[in-house]
Every structure is written in C-alpha cells, then in structure tokens.
C-alpha cells in the first residue's frame, strides 16, 4: 500500500485512556479521567459538557498544551500516530505547524495586539510552509477571504483591536488554517458572539469542512451549535465521557441520563414552556462513589452508587457505533421523550399597569455627529403586575441603557417614566423617594461581580431589609424566609460568595432583589452566564416568584429561546429603537419585522436537533444609530431606496397587541 493510502487509513486523532490532573496544594485534582476517543479523516466530532467537565483541557491536550500545574496521569493523545503530550519539543512543534490548527475560545485575546493581522498570518505561513514574503502575503489575503472576511486586502494591514469579535474569530480560524492542517480544534468558538454572528461562524465551519476535507473537533457547551456542524458527539461529565455516538441519534434518543437532562434543560424557540433542568450541581457531587452523576439522576438505583464508575459500553442495535456509560441503559432508552417534561406556559390575568415608559430618549453624545442619532430614541414600554416583558436585542441595542435609566443610574434626555401610576422615575436614584426605590429592584448578569466578595451573602440580603426598617430578629427572620423562597438554605447565609456555585450566587442576587419588597424587577441577562442545567432551574424560580409575589419583570435578554420560555410579551430593540412588540405567541408565530426574522432564523438554525445547512449572513451591525430613517436599513432584505433612508417607519398594527415598525406592509396571515 502506498504511503499516502496508509496515511489516510490512520486515525487523525486518537485519545487513549487519557487522565490529566492538576496540583492543588498537596493533592492531585483530576480533570480528565480515562477518556478515550478517536477521529478519522474528514470527520467532525463535538465534545459537549458544562463548565468544569474538562472539555477545554481536552481541547488543549489535543494540541499538546497543558496548563501550568497540570500533568498527564495516564493514557496518551496521538495525532497522526505521534504522541503529542509526551513527544519531544521538535516533534510537537512540527505537529503543531503541519497537522493541527487550534482556534481558541476568546479570539480577541489570542491575537497579538502589537502586530498587524497580515503579519501574524504571514509569520505562520513562512514558518510552516517556507514561503517567501510576497507569496506569503498573497496567501494571507487568500486565507482571509476563505474565512469570509470582507475586504481581505484592506483587513490584512489592520490591528486586532480594529476588528469586531466575529471578525477576530474568523482571523483566528485563518491563522489555524495557515499551516494546512489535517485537524482543526475549536474551543468554544461561539462564546461571546451575537446570535447572528454565531450562525455565520458555524456556517463557515461547515463549508470549510466541505471545501478542505479536514477533520474537526469542536468543544462547546452549546448543544445547538454542535448539532449544526458535527455528525458525532461525545458528552462529558466530571472529566469522563458518558455518552458518544452520532449526534442525531444522541439528541433524538439520549442514551445517558445526563444527556437527557441537558437536552431537557435547553430552552427552545420552537417549543414554548419552561425546561425542566437538573437538580443539584456538578461541583457538589464530584466525590460521590460509583457513578458520579447518580445523586442527580432520576434513574439511579443502589447499584449505581457502588463500586467503580461505569465504563463506556456499546449500545446494541444501532447502525452507527454508540456508547454509553450507564448501568441503567435499557430503562433510559425506554423512558418517555424528554420533550414531555417541559412546563407549559400558564394563562394569567394581567394586573394593573406597573411601569409605563413613553417617548424615552437617551442621548450620550457630547458633540453629536449630524449623521447619527441618539443612543435610544422614542421607546414606549409598559409592564403590568405579574407580567414578564422581555426586552430583546443584541449588544449595542441600547437595552442596558434603558435598564440603567429606569433604575435611576442615568438621566433620560426626554420622555416619561412612571411607576405604579404616580412616581416619576426620570429622577436619579438618589433623588427618588425611598419607598419608590424599594419598589424597583435589579438583578445582574454576572452573579460573581454583583456580590461584594468581602461580605457574607446573608449580609448582602440583610441590607435591603434594613433599609426597609426591619431590625434584629425580625430582619433575620425575613432574610431566612427570602432564602427559602429562592431555594437556598438559611445556613448558607454565613458563606462568602466565593464559596457558592454560580447558580447559588445568582439565587442570592435574586434574594437580594426580593428582600427589597419590590413590585418590579429589572433582570439584566440574569441567566446568560449560567450553565444550561442551572439556567433552567433559575428560570423556573423566576416564574414561581412572579406568581407568588405578583411581580412584574422587565427581562432583558439576547436569547430568544429563554425569552420564549419565560416571557408574556416581547419588545425587540435594534440600535435603540423599538422595531417590534407583542404577545409572545404572536411574535413567535409571525409575521415579523425583518430584524426579528433574522434573529429567529439565526437562533433556530442553532437549536439542538437541527442539522440543516446554515445560511450565513452579514454579521456585523453598525455601531451608531442613524439620524433619520429606519435603523435597520443597511441590513434589511426588504429595503426601499429613499423611503427607508429618510422617513421614520410607521407602526403597523397586526392585531391583539402585536405591532411592528416598518415601511413595507405586511400581509396579515402570511407566515414567513
């Protein structure tokens, strides 16, 4: 057999029994336990799991990179037959140059800030393919074009900070491809990107695979992103692979309770209702005997908590190989579909109007450029008691500005904001009546930075109670009640934020807001930073609290699926202008504003189970809103020359409180 043929029958990547641990004090903390996976030429494998499962360590191990303080405690990683972790430096460097390309998680941080883009690509080209300067530069431009960057010959001379997040990600891909590798490793490639950009980047991966025939390993926590690109998946939990096989089969009929749990925790645009989530957390159950997942598992039996953790065993009766590390496999496969575990939305009576905003305009510009408009312009919004109104938009849409203005941390330029029919919220927080301040509470995105690290969480919740006038015993009792309301134990009050998990920290944030006794809660991306299984339980908590306390929420999010799960009404924002609003069912069934349509298509394309080809689109929004006309005109497929550029689009009423702002008339009843 010729050498070439031999090469192609060899596995591109082979991980055998890999165990990695890092040193903490005097102990070894295991990160990966006995992981075995293999990848052939042209295949795409996804590695999914939540934070802490070890997937990023696995991705780095594929490139032969171990974090400081980690070491291999067993097994090996072979790329093209060569051991990449134990090999000598020369071999490893050759492998890195010629066989493997690595696209890191945060592209912005992975590009050297002091070098131009082109220079960085040329450098890799000359090191790996021994080109001369002009040939390398031409190739660099070609690579930038291959990753679908606009104007590659201009971009090649720019610096990293001059590119947007999505563009930086594409440059990172180009750098990884420069060495013409056989294997591309992607570590969380869609984190931090807007949903439209995400769709574009994922489409890029699929087409690159088709064009170049390379193998792909994609590490992600996003099940939807994964199913769009990879035909094989390995699910990881606490450093082990618990299930592996074809993506389509695994997501249709999961063979491990954890996979089931994951799937049932993801909110869907296509299906309304609150996902189930999983009880407990990974960090709490790491040292459980037997199967580590057992304490959280609905199928667990006595035998699951005894002996060694279960090995991966083949699943019978499938066309493609499938493996599962579960002792109760037959029961899991026979269990009813996980889709049935969604909590359907309840019909509710709408209460009194609570928050009323009309004509809100916020202008930050000090010396206004006549071509641009104010950051937020002419926004109307109403939230009723017991109602969840979702404010949807990407970064730069002005949603945080609006939230901050309502909270009294900024002054609006014009417009009215009233709370409960009376109180004027255009005043800043310090000028408001304390009673008014209490009625409005905030919950933040990043639970860790929203809590003072030097104060116990009990203290953090006690403070708003004290401001309400409660003292001593009464205050402590009230705090304990609030803790229970959010699902925390009163004993947790003595802990510091760093001693709690992300989900628990967010519950403390919610407790702190509740303790103020509010009528309206401003929730700013409160589940975006949480793991999927914890997201689901926090969403359920918010839903329950809303009913118990008759709260109104202004729920800010960029995630349409989460919005679909929780909200009653939706307001869609683009560059600080409302383009669509209405009841949730009507907005999600269409017809829609072109921007909402774009958001939904991008989000739909990345739901788990969707394996259709993606349609990439222009993924960069402009940064400044226009002075006149429709803000969306530069990206709108329905744009009318002249009209959309100069005239503010009128409201079109689509019935039952659903309306959009567009010049192009929508046919009622037409489903897009």
């Amino acid at each position: 057999m010729s050498v070439a043929a031999k090469e192609t029958t060899r596995l591109v990547a082979e991980i055998s029994g890999l165990s990695i641990a890092y040193r903490s004090g005097v102990r070894d903390v295991p990160v990966l336990r006995d992981v075995s996976l293999s990848l052939g030429a042209g295949e795409a494998l996804a590695i999914v799991g939540e934070s802490g499962c070890g997937k990023s360590t696995l991705a780095s191990a594929l490139v032969g990179h171990l974090r400081t303080g980690s070491r291999v405690t067993g097994g090996s990683v072979r790329i093209g037959g060569e051991d990449v972790l134990a090999g000598d430096a020369r071999t490893v460097r050759t492998l890195r140059r010629q066989q493997i390309g690595f696209v890191p998680q945060n592209a912005g941080h992975s590009l050297t800030p002091s070098m131009r883009i082109g220079a960085q690509v040329v450098e890799v080209l000359r090191a790996t393919r021994k080109m001369d300067k002009s040939a390398a530069r031409a190739e660099a431009v070609r690579l930038l074009a291959q990753v679908r960057l606009p104007e590659p010959d201009v971009l090649v001379d720019r610096y990293p900070h001059q590119l947007s997040g999505g563009q930086q990600q594409r440059v990172a891909v180009a750098l990884a491809l420069a060495g013409a590798p056989r294997l591309l490793v992607l570590d969380e490639p869609t984190t931090g990107l807007d949903v439209v950009t995400q769709a574009g980047v994922l489409a890029l991966f699929s087409s690159l695979r088709a064009e170049l025939g390379i193998s792909l390993v994609m590490v992600s926590h996003d099940l939807g992103a994964v199913s769009a690109v990879c035909e094989r998946v390995a699910v990881m939990y606490a450093g082990r692979v618990v299930e592996s096989g074809a993506t389509e089969a695994a997501f249709r009929l999961p063979a491990h309770p954890y996979t089931r749990g994951l799937l049932s925790s993801v909110a869907r645009i296509a299906a309304p209702g609150l996902p189930l989530g999983m009880p407990g957390s990974m960090a709490d159950t790491l040292t459980s005997p037997g199967c580590v997942f057992a304490p959280r598992c609905e199928f667990a039996q006595e035998s699951c908590t005894e002996g060694d953790p279960p090995e991966l065993t083949p699943v019978e009766g499938e066309d493609a190989p499938r493996f599962s590390a579960c002792l109760r496999l037959p029961e899991v496969l026979a269990a009813p579909a996980w889709e049935a575990q969604v909590r359907p939305p309840r019909t509710r009576e709408r209460g009194e109007p609570l928050l009323q905003i009309s004509g809100l305009t916020v202008d930050y510009r000090r010396r206004p450029d006549p071509r641009t408009g104010p950051t937020v312009s002419d926004v109307d919004l109403t939230v009723h008691r017991g109602e969840v109104v979702a404010l949807v938009g990407e970064s730069g849409s002005g949603k945080s500005t609006i939230a901050w203005t309502i909270a009294g941390l900024r002054r609006p330029t014009s417009g009215e904001i009233t709370l409960d029919g009376g109180a004027d919220l255009t005043r800043t927080a310090a000028r408001r009546d304390p009673a008014v301040r209490r009625q409005l509470q905030l919950v933040f995105q990043n639970a860790t930075t929203s809590l003072n690290p030097r104060r116990t969480v009990g203290d953090a919740v006690l403070r708003p109670l004290r401001l309400r006038g409660l003292r001593g015993e009464a205050a402590v009792a009230a705090r304990d009640r609030v803790f229970e309301d959010v699902g925390l134990e009163p004993g947790h009050a003595e802990r510091y934020p760093a001693q709690l998990s992300g989900g628990q920290q967010q519950r403390v944030g919610i407790a702190r807001a509740l303790a103020g006794g509010p009528a309206l809660v401003l929730a700013d991306e409160v589940v975006s930073a949480l793991d999927v299984s914890i997201q689901a339980s926090v969403l359920r908590l918010l839903d329950d609290l809303r009913d118990e306390h008759q709260l109104g929420y202004l729920f800010i999010s960029h995630d349409l699926a989460v919005v679909r799960a929780l909200a009653d009404r939706v307001v869609v924002l683009y560059l600080g202008r409302v383009c669509e609003e209405g009841p949730i069912e009507r907005v999600f069934s269409g017809p829609n504003h072109p921007y909402t349509r774009l958001l939904m298509d991008s989000a739909l394309a990345t739901e788990p189970g969707m394996t259709e080809a993606l349609v990439g689109s222009e993924d960069e929004p402009e940064s400044a809103p226009p002075a006149a006309g429709c803000a969306f005109r530069n990206r709108c497929p329905q744009r009318v020359e002249g009209l959309c550029d100069h005239e503010t689009p009128p409201w079109q009423d689509l019935g039952a409180g659903h309306r959009i702002r567009c010049h192009v008339p929508v046919e009622i009843g037409a489903r897009t």
């Binding site: 490139v63 990179h65 492998l95 690595f102 945060n106 590009l111 002091s114 131009r116 090191a127 900070h161």
Partner: protein, 320 residues
Amino acid sequence: MLLVKAIGRRLGYSVLTVLLATLLVFVALQALPGNLATQLLGQNATPAAVAQLDASLGLNRPAWQRYLDWLGGALHGDFGRSLVSQQPVLTEAGGYLRNTALLAGIVIVAGITLSLVLGVIAGLTRDRWPDLAISGLSLLGMSVPEFTVATLLVLAFAIRLNWFPAVVTAGPTATVGELLPAVWLPAAALTAVMAAYIIRMMRTSVIDVMSAEYVTLARVRGLSSARVLFRHALPNALLPTLNVIAINIAWLVGGVVVVESVFNYPGIGTLMIQAVHNRDLPVLQFIAVFGALTFVVCNLLADLAALWLNPRLRTPGRAG
C-alpha cells in the same frame, strides 16, 4: 489625526504641569509666612541689612507679581542671580549641569540596558536560580539608600582596591577628560539603586506577557520560542515598563544630590547642597524647577514611545 491630537493633548498637560510645579516651588520658598529676608540673614538680621535685602530682592512687592516676574525671566533663560556669587543662575549652574549630564548619561545608557536585560532574564527563569539571584540583588538595591551604596563602593573600590579615586578634586569647570576616571563609582552607585526598580518592573511585565493567551497561542501555532519572545512578547512587555523607566530617569536629578555629595562630584547635586547651606534662593528654585522639567519631559517621551509601541493608542478601534 488621532495621533496628532493625542500628542498635542499630552504636550498641553505637560506644560501645565511644569507651570504648576514652578508655582508650588515658588510658594514653598518665597511666599511663606515670616519675613524672608530676616530668615535669610539669620543672625545678621539688622534692620538695615533686612531693608537692603528686601529692596534688592524686591520683597516689598506682592508675591504673585514676583512670581510672574520670575516666570517671565525664566522663559528667557534668566533665572535671576545667585545670592552668593551674584552671577546669573544659568551661568553659575552651567558647568555643574554639564557634569551631572555626563554622569546621568552613563547611568542611563549602561544602567537601563543592563536592567532591561536582567529583568527579562529574571522573568523568563521565574523562581529558578537566575531569577532568585537577580531578584534578591534588586531587593537589596532598592532597600539601601544611595549614600550606603556609595559609601560601600568607596570602601571596596577606592580604599581597598584603589581602582578609582574616592573623592573628586576637580571643580565645576573641569573638562570631561578630567572627570572620566572619577565618574565610574558615582555612576555605579546610582545604577545599583535605579536598576532595582526597572528590573522588578520588567520581570513582572515579562511574566504577565508570557502567560498571556496570545503568547501561548503563538507557541501553539508552532512558532519558535525565539520568535515568540522577540516578536510577540517583548514589545508588549516593554509597554508598562516605559513609565517606570521615565520616572527613574527623572529620579536621577534628585538621586545625584546624595551621591555627588559622597564623592564631592561637581554636579548640580553639590550645587543644590551649597545653595541650601547658603540659602541661595534663586539657585534652589532653578534646580527644583529643572527637576520638575526633567520629570515632565521624561514622561512625555515615555508616552510618545508608548504611542509608537501600542497600536491601540494610534489607530481608532471599533466601537463595541
């Protein structure tokens, strides 16, 4: 355009800072309560002498007028006359300035180069013996005052080994040639102290940059260690060090005061001490302002160097 605006703004701030500094020095020296002439004359403060000094210094005019006069003169290079020698201050200080410039020049060129190299070595060999040795020595260097190092150097190299003179006999008008044999010990004393700070800063900077994601990624792309170090890491590691270098160069103007006194080196440090002893206000004022000017100029140069090294400051980024 952005670049020009940035430089222009820095320049404006620098000028403002120097002006404010001159005002502060003037206030400290001349506008404090109590009759200045009486203080200056000390024991010889007879009413007649006081009146005469008042007149010659113009002390019966309000302070702000005296300040503006001084400022006006200073802009033309006229800093008044020394109360001791009656010479124009600039003439008087000229020779001293030149000698200190020679000393400082050697310290800057040799010292900074050495410090940067040692700092990089320490950063790259973190916690191993080269780092421990270099860091230990720098800790010592910054923990002892300049007069200590100077005195010990004199003991070792001048007295025991007799390689260099312990004391400089030349005066302010000495030629460079005459000063050269005597300049090395003072230079070594100054370098020992100054180097410590630069080494520590460079070390920290190198450690930070070497663990940055883009450096790790450059290695993962298969680039050679040398390339990663010189092309990716060092330019970014140098940035935070620039300010420390500037501050240390400016510190020299003060540092020479003690070192020159140990060696009797005829520089502005020696002049400063003489002026303090003699209460020679115009000279004092000049030297203090000169120190401020040096500091501001050094910082300005550091900012300009940062502009050159850091593309983020030169080119507009994307909003959001």
